[in-house]
């Protein structure tokens, strides 16, 4: 266990109250929060605690700016959703939003103050070409036209290459699964599609994953990901999503994770929520996972990696092993997503394209 957490973590754990922060502490808090896109989240925490009026003017300016920016994104997003509904209207396929988009449209706990850029959609594999064509007609064009990239995505990945709107610039990621087809743990997406729930009211007809599947997806995304610059933000999302589950549902989460075959990321989510954010009431679910036969292999090693990588990507939060931990997790994510006999030719090809100037990054 860590003996001392970064300031942002102690605030998120509610061990340090906002009203006890000195100005230099506010400064550090906001710098750490900015790195993992949590300034907007802090604004809404302060608002919920009714502390905005007593927040010093300097920090308040940054908190309010983050709020303004996330509100602007939400407005833009809702506009894009209207356009997507049109694009989907005669395809016979429901518009199913994932992650940030789902949180925003269904007004789930994590959406307040959350920034997101791409709009992630999930559709059945069989209709992906039809949907792509319909999106094309409505102005969303592929960002990359390089043959290799197109082929690579279509053959191995869980999504087609990102589509960008030619006028408004919005980016849509069209998925047919939540992990690449090459990943050992690649789940059966029909399970997710069948359990998806339809929204009522203003956004009737739009779908999001079921409450349990949302958590499984968020956890999978976080713990299969190779980059952790927004890792803490994703953990905060999970905290908000799990808070909406009662004790019984938390146990059902374990069954569902087993059914889909994604126990590991869910276990990590539960573990690091309790360790890092001090989220309560997860012990029973973790215990149940082990009773059902899940073995958390190398957990001390994983603690050593994740407890570093999930800290804000800010100099004040790094120790001597942080860079190594991030690098190892980056390698791990590739390893999990793609077997070596595919990964090595792919990386060689990408390197060659970069060296010969066919690709610029």
């Amino acid at each position: 266990m860590k003996s001392s957490w970064p300031l942002l973590i102690t605030v998120l754990r509610k061990e340090k109250g906002f009203d006890s922060l000195s100005l230099p502490e506010w400064d550090l808090l906001l710098r750490q929060a900015r790195r993992c896109q949590l300034v907007g989240h802090l604004f809404y925490r302060l608002e919920a605690l009714d502390l905005l009026a007593t927040t010093p003017v300097g920090p308040l300016r940054h908190l309010q700016s983050a709020k303004v920016q996330t509100s602007k994104q939400l407005r833009d997003f809702l506009w894009e959703v209207g356009k997507l509904v049109q694009a989907f209207s005669n395809t016979g396929c429901a518009l199913l939003l994932l992650k940030g988009g789902a949180y925003a449209i269904a007004e789930l706990a994590p959406h307040k103050g959350r920034l997101f850029s791409d709009i992630d959609l999930l559709v059945p594999f069989e209709v992906i070409n039809d949907i792509e064509r319909s999106l094309l007609i409505h102005g969303w064009l592929p960002e990359t036209t390089a043959d290799y990239d197109q082929q690579y995505y279509r053959h191995w990945m869980h999504e087609i290459p990102p589509l960008q709107h030619v006028k408004r610039g919005s980016v849509v990621d069209l998925h047919h699964n939540i992990l690449p087809r090459t990943a050992k743990a690649c789940p059966d997406p029909t399970l997710l599609l069948e359990a998806a729930v339809e929204l009522q009211g203003e956004h009737q007809g739009i779908k999001v994953l079921s409450p349990l599947d949302r958590i499984i997806h968020s956890a999978t995304h976080l713990f299969y990901e190779g980059e952790f610059d927004k890792g803490l933000r994703d953990l905060v999302d999970l905290d908000g999503l799990i808070a909406e589950l009662g004790a019984e549902a938390r146990l059902q989460l374990v069954d569902r994770a087993q059914q889909i075959g994604l126990q590991r990321p869910v276990y990590y989510a539960l573990r690091y929520l309790s360790l890092i954010l001090n989220t309560k009431g997860l012990e029973d679910a973790m215990h149940k996972m082990q009773v059902l036969g899940f073995v958390p292999n190398y957990i001390k090693l994983m603690d050593g990696l994740f407890l570093r990588a999930l800290m804000p990507d800010h100099l004040s939060c790094d120790d001597g092993f942080t860079a190594l931990a991030r690098w190892l997790l980056y390698v791990r994510s590739h390893w999990l997503k793609m077997p070596l006999h595919l990964l090595i030719p792919h990386l060689t090809r990408k390197l060659w394209m970069r060296v010969t100037g066919q690709e610029q990054h």
Binding site: D27, S65, V68, Q69, K72
Partner: protein, 248 residues
Amino acid sequence: MDFHITLDTPNILRRLIHQQVQFYLDNQIVFNPFPLRHATAMLEWGMNWCVSTQIHTFLIIHAAVVEKNGFAAVLPAPPGSGKSTLCASLVQEGWRLLSDELTLINLTTAEAVPVPRPIGLKNQSIDIIRQRYPQAVFGVLSSDTLKGSVCHLKPPMQSIQKQIIECPIGWIVFPKYEADAATELLPKSKGQAFMEVANNAFNYSVLGVDGFEILKKVVDRADCYSFKYSNLDEAIAVFNQLEAPREV
């Protein structure tokens, strides 16, 4: 503190080939490096970038803003229209500098919020100001930057001393320098002025309804003009004769 910025030379290998400078925001690189001799220009652009992209508690307009007798004149204009030259001259003639680049508007009061910093002058305007005002203090010259040569003029001490005093906006003047043009100040319709200021704003659309409401308030209160000039003496005279707007 608002932003932690650092200018530093990048790694040693690069230094051997080409003397460069890098702008860091809180230890993170945000731009491509510049040649070392452009360090001051990079510092100014980097600081403006921090404010104009990350602060949304003001409406931020790409405009110079100066004050006299309690009212501010906002000078929105694209680069090359002589905005900074005019602003530097007015400041030397007794106007208070609020900013030569970023007009910050308070979202509650619709007043201009000062951020006085050295005035960035480009190309010929550097010599023009040097010759007109020999007592003016300049920083180092960054020649051949992306925007040509850049040099910074020290703002008057009084503008710095008054930097916490916000100021109602009396006039919005769209300046346009044209060689040999006769000095001409023409009223501009409020609608047109509104649209042009919105186009010159960094965060008008970010602010949504609040942006619209505050800009409406500003434009309603201010007298709006388009202004063509080539002679600085005449231009200064025109500004000194601007009448205080009637309160709306």
